[in-house]
Symmetry: none
Subunit: 230 residues, 4 copies
DNA sequence: TATGAATGAGTTTTCATTCAT
DNA sequence: AATGAATGAAAACTCATTCAT
């Protein structure tokens, strides 16, 4: 049972998260003050410090949440279309995922600017360490039930599933994922935000080609002929 | 010939550069104030504004300079050893360059933290646009004679030379360079600063493998058998 | 008999006293917050206000308690050695008492700093006004049974006893005691905490000489020749 | 020559001193904010920090100045009446001085409350260390020309003069002065502010008697018969 | 009695920028 | 070009106190 107090408490936290996110996107992190955040969130200034150590603490939690959500959303969307157009190969799976993420970023440039180049292992770290099977045993844990960061292990398991089903030999699947995410996140920022050295649309073929080649490096010999890029 | 007056003038500018760099590395950008910088540089507060618009202007110039210097240093070091142990292939050239840069970052972590993920096209942009043959036509330009950013086009020309001599088919060599630099810079930060998902030394083989594969994607068919990694 | 409930109740009060005292000594009064106190005392914030009006109320009670305890401890220690080495004169009694207090302060400098220059009539006031024979008539008063402040009248009575037994003519013994305590407390602070104008050990002979002279002023004529200082 | 800038600068400092003193007396130290001070002083908030580290720094400097001024004023007043009614003995000199100080405190209770029991060696310390003959050799020193703390050595020299002219044997005249000042300051606070254990007027005879006795302790034998108290 | 989340006015302190010299 | 005292808006953060539970 979630008591009234806990519900109220979680409301405050969520409200702070929500409105801080709004402000960070629109005014930028540096130009957003704690006063701005609490005013929009309709809580007292001191309340902020009940939930977060300072503005940086809030930002870090937010980046983690948002980054995780983006990965999960893309993966979920992919899963939903699995029946109609299955990603028949692992490479197809990865490239489609990347494409979804890139499209998301292109239509959410402020968000990309905010999480900047933080879509990286800072988030992914949680994937492996988080215990997938633990059951919350106290009421406080309830508050984190819809914490996307906690769901990242699901993302990782699905990724492993896709990898295992395909014919790859990869002793460190985590490092493969890391490599791809770093490359995608980093170049997306440059091409989308700075449009340098070119636009995302111009760059996409080159990016896909690079990812293709990276994956190819882990393919089992006999299958090297096939190509997932249509 | 640089006159004493020019030297003195340059002293202020470079003193500001020098001490700001020191402070940014040791205290971090946010925690360094203009007061700190002018105090260490032994110039008056107002003088700062004669040379820089604000702290961000100074930082951006600094990141560009330092980043450019790192690339050039690595390349120069490579050129010096060219006679004794020539990089016989383009891939060898690239991997050795990467290795030098990674080693540099590993022993200059504060510097890596500072230029952070800014070692990117923000800098490389200058490579193509900067006119290699312009001659400084006023005394002010003298100050920038040894500006590493202006030398980046040299770096790029050498890179193109190495690429041309090898048997690659690459219609956009700038995008290839961009891809590699983004990947290296981004993953260096994660592995060196956060040691996540693993240490740099652990990651190196996987990084090299990825770069190898990316380059392989541009190789002319008949040469695919050779491998530059010893 | 003190029931468990009363004990528990007293636990909260004395826990607050105890931990507040700790914090005041170590962090200083101004830098200690009510939050600090209740956290250490393991009671809720609101509970503080059930026992004390505010931080100043707590401090004042604490200063009174501690000051009284110091005086009583010194006197008790003196009483215990009375048989083996009796203070044969009133002057001897006073100087020994002072010496015990000074030694106590020297090994409890933080405490001296806290009660600062408050070891004064702020406390002694209670000596004369407090009714020695009243009996607590409600359970709440039980909590104060071992209140050192309430025992100060005992201290004063013993002082009067010693004075009366000796051959002094003093119409206002309270003002004599006041004078001595002000002088001792005030100069102890300076010499122990600031070591200015000299250390306590250097100052002691001069302080004893002054007290000796002050007492001498109340001596009956025929005895002026004797001197209690060995 | 005092430049305009220095004059202006000193004006700000004085203004801050002056108005802070006003506020500390009337609202109390704790209830006076830096905002209050700068508002009254008509300077910007940041300017405060150009002159003082924080509120405590300002207070300490102020206590020292005021305390020194009180001592000097009393002594000066005494010197002025020296011709009409000379203090024929050293004891007369001291008791008259004390009397002037006590009268001053009685009609300036807020001031007494402020400097509290700080009229002590915290101030007197400067007496001995300050070099009486140094001449300010730079313009900055001009700012301190009317610093009463710096004049304390004059007070001390006059005290020594009076002591030397009389027939006393005192190896540590500084400790004698310290003793008297601690006793006077401390008991003045209690009797004037708390009226405990009695009023100042009630206490005065006892205080004078004590001081008389203390001085008596340093008198040369042959003169012990005389008594300065009329 | 006891709790502790919430409050929000209030405080200190910082620091980029200006401008008279 | 160079100075550095002065500015003052704006920021972070505190903490005594309340009150619904």
């Amino acid at each position: 049972m979630v008591t009234k107090v806990q519900a109220k408490k979680e409301n405050k936290r969520s409200s702070l998260f929500h409105h801080a996110y709004d402000l960070f996107l629109n005014k930028g992190f540096n130009d957003t003050t704690i006063s701005d955040i609490v005013k929009k969130s309709d809580v007292a200034k001191g309340t902020f410090y009940l939930y977060f150590k300072d503005k940086y603490d809030l930002r870090d939690q937010l980046v983690a949440r948002v980054s995780a959500q983006i990965l999960l959303d893309a993966q979920n969307k992919l899963e939903q279309t699995k029946d109609t157009e299955p990603a028949q190969t692992f490479e197809g799976y990865v490239l489609k995922l990347i494409n979804l993420i890139l499209d998301h970023f292109e239509s959410n440039q402020m968000q990309l600017r905010f999480i900047s180049k933080n879509l990286s292992w800072g988030v992914l770290r949680h994937m492996l360490t988080h215990r997938p099977d633990t059951v919350p045993d106290d009421l406080d844990a309830v508050a984190d039930l819809n914490d996307p960061v906690a769901d990242l292990n699901l993302f990782y398991r699905r990724y492993l599933d896709a990898l295992t089903r395909a014919n790859y030999h990869c002793d460190r699947p985590d490092l493969l994922l890391f490599t791809v995410i770093e490359l995608v996140g980093s170049s997306a920022y440059s091409t989308i935000i700075n449009e340098a050295p070119c636009t995302l649309q111009e760059y996409k073929p080159y990016l896909f080609r690079s990812v293709h080649q990276i994956l190819e490096g882990y393919r089992m010999p006999e299958q090297k002929a096939s190509n997932a890029l249509s």
